[in-house]
C-alpha cells in the first residue's frame, strides 16, 4: 500500500508513526506544539501525544543540550531547529557533546538524538534562512548527516534516523517540502542510513547530488541527450563512497552538485574519494556545480547563487566534452 504525500507530510506521518512505535520518543522545539511547526511538520502531533510533544523556549543550545540529557535517561529525543541557520546557536552542544559522547565515554553513554531542521534555499526566505551546512556537520566525527530528496526517502530515512543510537542531523530541503506529491509506502518503512541511491541509471557520466539539488539534477539530465546516471547521496556522513565509486568506474565522468559554497564543500570530499578509488577510470576531471563562495545572498539574488537545472546541464556538458 502506498499513499500520495508531500515531503513535509511524509515527515509528519513518520513522526506520528515513530511516536506510536516508541513510547520513549519526545518531539520538541520552537513552535512545534500548538502551532504544529512553522512548516507544519508537526501539525496536530501534540493533540495525539500531549505528554510527548513540547514547545520550548527560543533557545537552540538548550534544544540540543536537553537531548543529551534525555538520551542519557533512556528517551528518544527528536528535536526541531526551526531553520538550519539557527542551529549555530546550539552548534557547540552538537560538536562538543552530542557527537563525541559515545567516543569519549568508550560507548558507555550515547546520544540517540535526531535533530530535524529545514535547510537550503529557493523559497525566497528571509536572510539567514537558506544556508546548507552539511559539510560542516559532516566534518564532525560521531555525527550522522542525512538529507532526503523525496517523500518516500524522507519517511524511510527519518524512521532510520530516529531509531539510530547515534546523533543524526536530519536536513530537510525547504524547497521540496511541498514541491511534489509522491507515493510513500504505508506502515513500517525504513531506508538504511549511509546508503546512496542510484535514482536514474546511465552510461556516459555520473551526477552526484543530494537534498534540494536532486530534482534540479534530474531535470538537467532529462534535458541532456547523454545517458547520465544520477546518484542521490541521501546520507552526507558517513558517506557511501562505494555507490559513487562503482558508478564512476562505469561512466568515467562525474559531476557533483550542491547548494553550499564550493570551497570546502562536500563535493570536494566526493572528488577525494573518487581520487582514492576510481582515479584511473576517469576520462575527464570531476566537475563541481555548486553555490559560490559568497554568503548566501538575500533572495533577490538567490537564483543567481543557487545551482539550477541549466547550470547543472552545462556542467554535465563540460565533463562529457572534456
Amino acid at each position: 500500500m502506498t499513499n500520495e504525500l508531500r515531503l513535509v507530510e511524509a515527515i509528519r506521518q513518520t513522526l506520528d508513526e515513530e511516536m506510536a512505535r516508541d513510547e520513549s520518543m519526545v518531539v520538541y522545539g520552537e513552535d512545534v506544539g500548538v502551532n504544529g511547526g512553522v512548516f507544519r511538520a508537526t501539525q496536530a502531533l501534540r493533540d495525539e501525544y500531549p505528554d510527548r510533544v513540547y514547545d520550548t523556549p527560543v533557545a537552540e543550545a538548550a534544544i540540543i543540550g536537553l537531548g543529551v540529557g534525555l538520551g542519557a535517561y533512556g528517551m528518544t529525543p527528536v528535536a526541531e531547529i526551526q531553520f538550519a541557520s539557527f542551529a549555530y546557536q546550539g552548534f557547540h552542544q552538537i560538536q562538543q557533546h552530542a557527537a563525541r559522547m559515545r567516543s569519549r565515554t568508550r560507548g558507555t553513554l550515547n546520544v540517540p538524538m535526531t535533530v530535524r531542521m529545514p535547510y537550503g534555499g529557493g523559497i525566497r526566505a528571509l536572510e539567514l534562512h537558506s544556508e546548507s551546512f552539511e559539510a560542516g556537520y559532516a566534518h564532525i566525527p560521531g555525527l550522522k548527516v542525512v538529507i532526503p530528496s523525496n517523500p518516500a526517502d524522507a519517511k524511510g530515512l527519518l524512521a532510520s534516523a530516529i531509531r539510530d543510537p547515534d546523533p543524526v542531523m536530519f536536513l530537510e530541503p525547504t524547497r521540496l517540502y511541498r514541491a511534489m506529491r509522491e507515493s510513500v509506502p504505508e506502515g513500517d518503512h525504513t531506508v538504511p542510513l549511509s546508503e546512496a541511491a542510484v535514482v536514474r541509471e546511465g552510461e556516459d557520466a555520473t551526477a552526484v547530488a543530494w537534498g534540494g539539488m536532486v530534482p534540479e539534477t534530474l531535470s538537467a539530465v532529462e534535458a541532456s541527450d547523454a545517458s547520465v546516471e544520477v546518484v542521490d547521496l541521501r546520507t552526507a556522513s558517513p558517506m557511501d563512497s562505494a555507490t559513487i565509486v562503482e558508478s564512476v568506474r562505469k561512466t568515467g565522468r562525474c559531476v557533483v552538485v550542491h547548494e553550499a559554497p564550493r570551497t570546502g564543500g562536500l563535493a570536494a570530499e566526493v572528488v577525494a574519494r573518487i581520487n582514492d578509488d576510481a582515479l584511473y577510470h576517469l576520462e575527464a576531471p570531476v566537475e563541481r556545480v555548486t553555490g559560490y563562495d559568497v554568503p548566501f545572498p538575500l533572495f533577490a539574488r538567490e537564483d543567481a547563487y543557487r545551482p539550477d537545472s541549466e547550470r547543472i546541464r552545462r556542467g554535465i556538458e563540460r565533463v562529457l566534452s572534456a
Binding site: R52, Y73, P77, S103, P238, M239
Partner: protein, 361 residues
C-alpha cells in the same frame, strides 16, 4: 514589580558554633564518612598535583578548598540520581563512589576515565555547557514522573555563559528536577568574581529564570548538605533550584596555572583560615565524633588507598591500545573508518610491539 531577596545559610560557623536549626541530622558514622571523603579528596588532589609535577600526569584541576561544597552536596544525592559535573569535581565523584584511579585516568589522557559508571556524567570541559544536560535529565525525570532529581555542578565563571541561563530558564518552564549547584570559588582562572558580573550575588541569577536561588557558606559542609537536601526535595517535585556555594579555590586553576600572578598571599591566607576540612575537623573533635587516634587511622587508610589507586592508574595507562580510538565513534563502524583503522594498524603495528611502536612516552 517583582522583588527578591537572597537567603544565606550557614550551619557550622567559622568559630565552630552550630546552628541547630540549619544543621542536617546526621549520625556519627555519616559525619565520619563525610570527613573521610573530604580528606581523601584533599590528599588525592595533592598527590595528583605532585604526580603532574613529576611529569607522570597530564593537566589536572585540583578542587582544594572546595571539599565541603562538593562532598556535602554530592552526599545529599540518592545513588541512582544523576550527577552532572564540570571538570573540577573530584570530591563529588569520590563521594559518589568513583575510585581515584578513574579520576587519574582522565588526567592521564585516557577516555577510560570518562566512562560512565552509575548515574554520573563524564567531566565536561566547555564551561557551563553541561548545565543543559542536567536540565534534560531533570526534564526526563519530570516526564517519567520520577521522584528523583539531578544535580549539576559549575563555577562562578559559568554563570556568565548563555548555556547556564538557558538551562535554568528551560528547567523552570519544563519543571525539570534539576538542582544547579554553583561553586563560587571566586576565580575563573584569573578573573575575579567581582568582574564576572555586576550582580551582587550569583544566586540571584535564578530570579531571571523564575526559579529559587539560595546562598550557602560553601566551606561549611553541614550547611551545604542541608541546603542541598532541601533543594533536591523541591527539585524532585519539579521545582528547580540554584544554589550558590561561597567557597575559595585554594590551589591553582589547573596545574598549568600560577595564581600568584593575579592574587595576593594575604588573600590566600585569609581564606586559609576558613578551610573547610579544618573547620569540620575542629567540630568533630569538639563533639567527640573523632579523636586524634581515629583521625590518624583515617589518614593512614587514605594513604594506603591512594598508593594502591595510583598503582592501578599507572597499570591501566600501560594497557592503552591507541587503535581503540576508532572503536567508539559510532555504534557500528562505517567502512571509511574501518579503512582508516586498518591504515593506522598497518603503519604502526608492522613488526609487532617490540619495534616501531612505543606504548609509553
Amino acid at each position: 514589580m517583582a522583588e527578591f531577596s537572597v537567603e544565606y545559610v550557614q550551619a557550622l560557623g567559622e568559630d565552630g558554633a552550630v546552628d541547630e536549626d540549619e544543621a542536617p541530622e546526621l549520625d556519627d558514622e555519616s559525619l565520619r564518612e563525610t570527613y573521610r571523603l573530604m580528606k581523601l579528596s584533599r590528599r588525592a588532589d595533592e598527590r595528583a598535583v605532585a604526580l603532574q609535577r613529576r611529569g607522570e600526569l597530564g593537566t589536572y584541576a585540583p578542587g582544594i578548598g572546595q571539599e565541603a561544597a562538593q562532598v556535602g552536596s554530592a552526599l545529599a544525592l540518592g545513588e541512582s540520581e544523576w550527577m552532572v559535573p564540570s571538570f573540577r569535581e573530584s570530591a563529588a565523584y569520590l563521594a559518589r563512589g568513583t575510585p581515584v584511579h578513574r579520576l587519574l585516568w582522565y588526567a592521564l589522557g585516557m577516555e577510560e576515565g570518562a566512562e560512565v559508571a552509575g548515574s554520573n556524567f563524564p567531566p565536561s570541559i566547555p564551561v557551563g555547557s553541561q548545565s543543559l544536560h542536567a536540565a534534560g535529565l531533570g526534564w526526563a525525570q519530570e516526564m517519567a514522573e520520577s521522584d528523583e532529581a539531578t544535580i549539576c555542578y559549575f563555577g562562578d565563571g559559568a554563570t556568565s555563559e548563555g548555556d547556564v541561563y538557558e538551562a535554568m530558564n528551560v528547567a523552570g518552564v519544563l519543571d525539570a528536577h534539576t538542582v544547579f549547584f554553583c561553586q563560587n570559588n571566586q576565580y575563573a582562572i584569573s578573573t575575579p568574581r567581582r568582574i564576572q558580573t555586576r550582580t551582587e550575588t550569583l544566586a540571584q541569577k535564578a530570579v531571571s529564570a523564575g526559579i529559587e536561588g539560595i546562598q550557602v557558606d560553601g566551606n561549611d559542609v553541614l550547611g551545604v548538605r542541608a541546603v542541598t537536601q532541601d533543594a533536591l526535595a523541591k527539585a524532585r517535585e519539579g521545582d528547580p533550584v540554584l544554589i550558590e556555594a561561597l567557597t575559595y579555590r585554594r590551589s591553582m586553576h589547573t596545574t598549568s596555572d600560577d595564581p600568584t600572578v593575579y592574587r595576593t598571599e594575604d588573600e590566600e591566607e585569609e581564606w586559609g583560615t576558613r578551610d573547610p576540612i579544618e573547620r569540620f575537623e575542629r567540630h568533630l573533635l569538639e563533639t567527640d565524633v573523632l579523636d586524634g587516634e581515629s583521625i590518624a587511622a583515617i589518614e593512614g587508610e587514605i594513604e594506603e588507598t591512594l598508593a594502591d589507586e595510583i598503582d592501578l592508574a599507572k597499570a591501566g595507562r600501560e594497557e592503552v591500545d591507541p587503535a581503540e580510538m576508532f572503536d567508539y565513534v559510532f555504534a557500528e563502524m562505517p567502512p571509511e573508518l574501518r579503512r582508516q583503522k586498518e591504515e593506522w594498524k598497518s603503519e604502526n603495528e608492522r613488526g609487532g610491539k617490540e619495534e616501531g611502536f612505543e606504548r609509553d612516552e
